[in-house]
């Protein structure tokens, strides 16, 4: 008799809970959770809130216009997507990129990676209820945005600063000193973080464990895969631009939990700082854009062919597949956003069987970006 009562009460406790898309801690993306009391029985990702149809839009625009469009693939790391798009066009056209432009591209991509990781730290902090971390992160991020404003002319959107053929503007005078000063500030922030907020550790350690075999099966890349114990980084495995000339390490952790992923982000900020310092010391003089692209032209033709470019962006591996039929506009563009697999297969797998209170910690530990998932 008693058993029967218990069974009924469990079934009454089952309900559906929506996490997002208008939740303060979800960011334009929703997860439907099937919950029994506090325990999550199953999770179903529900994308599509931010779909803008970039792949189709790019078929109707010239490469120079697509460079501007590629910012919007992910607001938080616009320059990395700029770089991926520019590389795809450069490879199709066989353009010779000036040395200086390659170095500037690396500096900007790494600065963008640092600010993306800082946002990750901020969002992760507010997700786990650590408000100070959020404010600190966004305060320090603004120093990097000041650099972007000085170099590209816009704080968040560089609007195609890294364009096919090189970069649109040269570094202004005195930018080396300014970049180094900001890097010192970021370094100071990283040291503050490493002091390890005990509440943060308690919220994240042992939560959302992703084993290496599962990570590979579900298609995780970037920091998520590295936190599960695999040493992989496109910058090392398949170097693009001038990354093969720099000395940096790939941080790896074996725990695979939310805390390990968070610490990978912090380690990567340090590595990016060292890459930028090496780049600034070795940057050569010369042109910053190939002669052919100095002024935007409307009649440039892309030779027939297809190309797949992969880049390491802060969230994982970004890919752009581009086909050209010999006209001025690409015939087909396919974009592989790293968040697609992190937010659907990995997130659904990790949320199953956890508590509601752990949802934000797991959700934000994956360093997700709904913009590059929905595209």
């Amino acid at each position: 008799m008693n058993d029967k009562v218990v069974v009924e009460s469990i079934s009454k406790n089952e309900y559906e809970l929506f996490f997002g898309p208008a939740h303060p801690g979800s960011g334009n993306f929703s997860v439907k959770l099937k919950v029994d009391g506090e325990k999550i029985i199953s999770a179903r990702a529900d994308p599509g809130y931010l779909h803008r149809g970039f792949e189709k839009l790019m078929e109707y625009r010239l490469p120079i216009q697509n460079a501007v469009l590629s910012d919007r693939l992910c607001v938080l790391e616009a320059l990395n997507w700029n770089l991926a798009h520019a590389e795809a066009v450069d490879e199709l056209m066989g353009t010779e990129i000036p040395e200086r432009a390659r170095y500037i591209r690396v500096i900007m991509a790494e600065l963008s990676r640092i600010q993306s990781h800082i946002i990750w730290f901020g969002a992760f902090s507010i997700g786990t209820g650590f408000d100070t971390g959020f404010k600190m992160a966004f305060g320090y991020r603004d120093y990097i945005l000041d650099l972007f404003e000085m170099i590209t002319g816009g704080r968040v959107y560089p609007t195609g600063y890294i364009c096919p053929g090189g970069v649109r503007r040269d570094l202004p005078d005195g930018s080396k000193e300014k970049i180094l000063r900001v890097l010192d500030k970021v370094d100071k922030m990283v040291k503050l973080e490493v002091m390890e907020n005990p509440a943060m550790v308690a919220r994240t350690e042992g939560i959302g464990i992703l084993k290496l075999s599962d990570a590979i099966r579900l298609g995780a890349t970037g920091p998520v895969l590295r936190a599960s114990g695999m040493k992989t980084d496109v910058r090392k495995d398949d170097p693009y631009e001038v990354y093969d000339r720099f000395d940096f390490e790939v941080p790896v952790r074996n725990e695979g939990d939310a805390y390990a992923r968070y610490m990978i982000g912090i380690e990567e900020i340090k590595q990016s700082i060292s890459i930028i310092k090496q780049t600034l010391n070795n940057i050569p003089d010369g042109d910053f854009i190939a002669k052919k692209f100095e002024k935007p032209k409307l009649n440039i033709k892309i030779p027939e062919g297809e190309v797949y470019v992969r880049n390491e962006i802060s969230r994982g591996e970004a890919g752009i597949y581009m086909v050209s039929d010999g006209g001025g506009k690409p015939y087909r563009v396919k974009i592989r956003g790293p968040s697609f697999l992190h937010m659907i297969s990995v997130l659904e797998f990790l949320l199953e069987g956890t508590q509601i209170a752990d949802v934000p910690a797991i959700y934000w530990s994956l360093n997700i970006c709904p913009a590059d998932l929905d595209r």
Partner: protein, 131 residues
């Protein structure tokens, strides 16, 4: 580990805040900032490249009103700032530097019609002043 927070706390108590009090002071705007357009109608050669390269179709080439038709017989640039994404491609492609982006970023408005920048508004103002 936790005691490390205490010296930081005192340091933060006496340090300057990260933010500035905006209307009274502001951070300097860099020279290459992409803000509101400035258009020099006398330099413009009406080639229409800016209208073609604009990816939001914010630029339209329009004819002059009848009273200015003698002085300006061609088509001139009308910018809709509401559509503009401030990419600066029009500035880069302009062969005579007639269209430029300025440092002005105070562009928020309550009136939708004010986002459209007519090419002849400066001319009209000048003639009003002379009258």
């Amino acid at each position: 580990m936790k005691l490390k927070i205490v010296p930081n706390l005192f340091k933060n108590l006496f340090s300057k805040p990260m933010t500035v009090k905006f209307p009274h002071e502001s951070i300097p705007i860099p020279d290459k900032y992409r803000g509101e357009h400035s258009y020099d109608i006398d330099k413009c050669i009406s080639c229409g490249l800016c209208a073609k390269v604009c990816l939001n179709r914010a630029i339209e080439m329009v004819e002059a009103p009848p009273e200015y038709k003698d002085k300006y017989p061609k088509k001139y640039v009308k910018v809709d700032i509401g559509k503009c994404c401030f990419c600066g491609l029009c500035q880069d492609i302009c062969p005579t530097d007639a269209l430029k982006l300025t440092k002005n970023f105070f562009l928020s408005t309550f009136d939708k019609s004010t986002t459209i920048k007519e090419p002849f508004s400066d001319e009209i103002e000048k003639s009003m002043g002379s009258n």
